[in-house]
């Protein structure tokens, strides 16, 4: 149901009166409606009020055809562009005059300031930041307000959600958000827990519990929404990664599932796949396999063969699970490549996936046909067994690339072929050093 919110009529006033009048009305609107969650700029607010093409009606109702300075509907605030410069100047001047006498050296600086002044500081910074989210001075003063308990962290988070609806790429705002989150109790305890105990007790794997852990789920949701508003939003994705670092293994798996929904609908978005990569690497870190992966290129053939083919028994269930996750990633990605031909992001992601998978197999070979992930090779496997397995992986992958090079029935075929060809060349190049030690690998260079 539509609710008709405040409808404000602009009356002819002296300029300076008008500025303070608009400021007061807007402040009152924000105070009266704490549920406002979206901010927009409008050109002709009058049209949105009266609807459609009644341009004649709206002209007569407003002075100079400007219309009201703002409108509010269904908790969405729309500010008219004409009133912004004056509003901003007024709020800034007010703010500067209020803080002129306060010495911001100590945390107690605000304790002696009157409550009405503190409220004015709060209100003026609010207006400033809604218009210019990069004003770090305003954000910093608000930090003092929070530390003096004059402003609640929850309210600040809500305010930032509102700011993000209009300024999704403000670095200052995102940085402030992280500061505020660190002040929140359960964030802090989580962070310190993570730091002190690497193989920590797993969080409850109960999905409901995780969802109920409000702050995290809200934060992830905000990141996804903001990235939707403005794609390739470096700040939103970085913030999400900052959060993901605090997750445990179960939560990481959930995050992977969640980001799949994004990837499905934003196939060509490299950011989404880069985030996927990040989550997988976090999973890797959590498992003990991390220590075993040799990250340097095989081209630098300076270690002896036996070092590189040192086998390790898969120990914890997390390790096996991780291999399983990796395998599923391949299935998922291959399906995406088939379904959405000609998207570079998919092929780039495959490079990452394959290079890690290959190295993983060298350290901890698992038979890909064995659905039971508890397979652990005995220390008696020979080097040649291992290289057989690796050659098999290699040839499968090259076959995959070749299939897409030749499948000319799909739409976007020229691009698909180009990406698949480059991928094939890349594989051959990257494992060149490894293959030179195995005579039977020379067959690949005949393709």
């Amino acid at each position: 149901m539509w609710r008709w919110e405040v409808c404000f009529f602009y009356e002819q006033r002296e300029t300076s009166d008008m500025r303070s009048f608009v400021y007061e009305q807007l402040t009152k609107q924000l105070d009266d409606d704490p549920l406002i969650d979206e901010l927009g700029l409008v050109v002709r607010a009058s049209e949105l009020l009266f609807g459609g093409n009644d341009s004649k009606e709206s002209d007569s109702a407003a002075d100079d055809g400007k219309g009201p300075p703002f409108i509010c509907r269904e908790h969405k605030l729309g500010i008219s562009s004409w009133c912004l410069p004056d509003l901003y100047r007024f709020a800034t001047n007010l703010f500067l005059s209020l803080i002129a006498n306060i010495d911001f050296k100590s945390l107690q600086c605000l304790h002696n300031v009157e409550i009405s002044t503190v409220k004015e500081i709060h209100d003026s910074t609010r207006i400033i930041l809604l218009i210019n989210a990069d004003s770090y001075r305003a954000w910093n003063v608000r930090k003092f307000l929070i530390q003096a308990f004059r402003l609640k962290t929850d309210d600040e988070i809500r305010f930032m959600n509102l700011v993000f609806s209009k300024h999704p790429k403000s670095g200052e705002a995102w940085s402030h958000r992280r500061w505020v989150l660190r002040q929140v109790k359960d964030f802090e305890s989580r962070n310190s827990k993570q730091l002190s105990d690497v193989s920590s007790q797993p969080h409850s794997s109960n999905v409901d519990d995780f969802v109920r852990n409000d702050h995290f789920s809200t934060e992830i949701r905000i990141c996804a929404q903001v990235a939707e508003i403005y794609p390739k939003n470096y700040y939103a994705w970085t913030h999400r990664q900052w959060l993901v670092k605090l997750f445990d293994f179960e939560e990481l798996k959930q995050e992977l599932r969640r980001v799949s929904r994004w990837n499905d609908l934003h196939v060509s978005d490299h950011c989404g796949f880069h985030h996927r990569q990040f989550v997988l690497l976090c999973c890797l870190e959590r498992s003990k396999l991390h220590s075993g992966i040799v990250l340097k290129d095989f081209d630098e053939g300076n270690s002896s063969n036996s070092d590189q083919f040192h086998h390790e028994k898969l120990e914890s269930s997390e390790d096996c699970e991780f291999c399983e996750i990796f395998r599923e990633e391949f299935v998922y990605l291959s399906d995406m490549i088939r379904r959405y031909p000609g998207h570079e992001s998919l092929w780039c992601y495959r490079r990452f996936l394959w290079s890690y998978w290959f190295r993983l197999q060298i350290q901890h070979p698992t038979d890909s046909d064995d659905s039971n992930a508890n397979y652990s090779p005995t220390s008696q496997s020979t080097d040649s067994d291992n290289s057989e397995l690796l050659l098999k992986l290699l040839s499968e992958e090259i076959e995959f690339a070749q299939h897409h090079i030749e499948d000319d029935e799909v739409s976007n075929f020229p691009k698909q072929r180009r990406f698949a060809t480059r991928y094939k060349l890349w594989i051959l190049h990257s494992i060149r050093g490894f293959c030179s030690r195995i005579p039977t690998a020379s067959q690949f260079w005949k393709i």
Binding site: P34, L35, D37, E38, G40, L41, V42, V43, R44, E47, L48, G52, N53, S55, R73, E74, H75, K76, G78, S81, D154, D155, I157, R158, N161, S165, K166, D214, T218, R221, I222, A224, Q225, E228, I229, R261, W262, D264, L265, H266, V267, S268, R339, Y340, E409, V410, S411
Partner: protein, 211 residues
């Protein structure tokens, strides 16, 4: 508890579906039914965005020959249109990642469904106000994610690629000498807010991005 952002994470790639009727090439197409999903846009932009999508739908249908299929790219959006020989036309507006072959499959399905529910003899006398066809929103929801749509139908094989004409810009379908700016200015479908919005967007070369 702090208040969460209102919209759920509902990532939209299909924005609009419309069914129109254009009995002959020289007649202006008549809108029979339309549905929109504009949650992705900020609240105050939605009415303008909707107007523009309706406007673009009409123009593209006007300039699409009978019995042909087109997919026209315009900035970050794509319009997919099929005008059948009998005059029924279906148009979808999506973002440019949405595969055009999947879109045309969907258009076929909508066309069949509409013809079954609203028989051809009714088309000349119908318009938006009296057509009874409530299935469009369901189509829009179901086809958002091509992966799910795939379960319904074998997507890649149905519509032949060669039958779909692709255009990189809407200007490509306009008559010689016609400019999009002029059409926008002259249009009665667009409010002053929308026209101002269009001018700003054109200047900054960012469609539907304000300020």
């Amino acid at each position: 508890y702090h208040v969460l952002l209102n919209k759920s994470i509902n990532m939209v790639k299909l924005f609009a579906l419309s069914v129109l009727y254009k009995p002959t090439s020289d007649v202006s197409p008549k809108l029979l039914k339309a549905t929109y999903d504009l949650q992705q846009f900020s609240f105050f932009q939605r009415s303008s965005v909707q107007e523009f999508m309706a406007f673009t739908t009409k123009i593209i249908t006007e300039r699409c020959s009978m019995g042909t299929r087109q997919s026209v790219k315009e900035q970050e959006y794509m319009c997919h249109v099929y005008v059948r020989a009998d005059g029924l036309a279906v148009v979808a507006v999506s973002d440019h990642e949405y595969q055009y072959r999947v879109a045309h499959n969907m258009l076929n399905k909508i066309m069949d469904e509409f013809t079954a529910k609203v028989p051809p003899h009714q088309w000349p006398g119908s318009d938006e106000t009296n057509v009874v066809f409530n299935e469009l929103p369901a189509f829009l929801a179901r086809w958002q994610n091509p992966r799910e749509a795939d379960a319904i139908t074998r997507v890649q094989e149905e519509v032949e690629d060669t039958k779909i004409i692709l255009h990189n810009t809407i200007e490509a379908v306009l008559e010689r000498g016609e400019k999009l700016d002029d059409l926008v200015n002259k249009s009665e479908m667009l409010s002053i807010q929308s026209k101002a919005f269009y001018k700003t967007a054109r200047k900054t070369n960012a469609c539907c991005n304000f300020g």
